[in-house]
Amino acid sequence: MKTIQTRFGEVEYNPDNLLHFPAGMIGFPTLHDFIVMPNKKKGPLFWIQSIDDPAVAFVLTDPSNFFLDYKVTAEESEKNSLQITDDDECFVLSVVTVPQDQKITLNLAAPILFSPKTNRAIQVILENSNYKSKTPLPA
């Protein structure tokens, strides 16, 4: 086990069990490895902590918790980045923006594709869709 200092205090992690972003998150191309933090509280939200930059952590969720008909399928090149084949599972996650007033939004325009088999993830932009980068939760 290793430890890093983050803005949330000291975090212990297993270096063999990281979420790897070969291309980083969009706007953060040099941050490749994140710790998936276990949920302290119940609920659909969890967070990932960069091990390269202690200041960077993202809140994520499975968007189907809130948007039942939201579907994203990985293209061939994206499956290559995840190092998976058509038979492997690929999950979709959304980045959650959490403002002080708790009115959270999901970035449905730029989902994260994630392979539980390879622990790899990529953030993609759905440019030709009507999904918004700031989608409020359904009322």
Binding site: E76, V95, V98, S133
Partner: protein, 80 residues
């Protein structure tokens, strides 16, 4: 930045797998054709910038806000 002047119908090679062609110029806008390998990500700059900005904003959150939010969300609110 490399700056080149091109006319409609002319193109540019970038490396050996990307070709950019000026299709036409009309009403202050330029239509561009791009040939690139299928896996190459091509985005309009303002779209890419918006996602970058949203990602930066998404890193600005507090643990206590997340905690109370998680409590609210797990008390059956999402079943609505």
């Amino acid at each position: 930045m490399l700056v080149l002047t091109r006319k409609a119908g002319e193109g540019i090679f970038i490396g050996d797998d990307v070709t950019i062609k000026i299709i036409e110029m009309k009403g202050g806008a330029v239509r561009i054709g791009i040939d690139a390998p299928k896996g190459k990500k091509i985005y309009r700059q303002e779209v890419y910038d918006r996602i970058t900005e949203e990602n930066i904003m998404a890193t600005q959150w507090d643990m206590d806000v997340l905690d109370s939010l998680s409590t609210n969300l797990s008390t059956g609110k999402k079943d609505k």
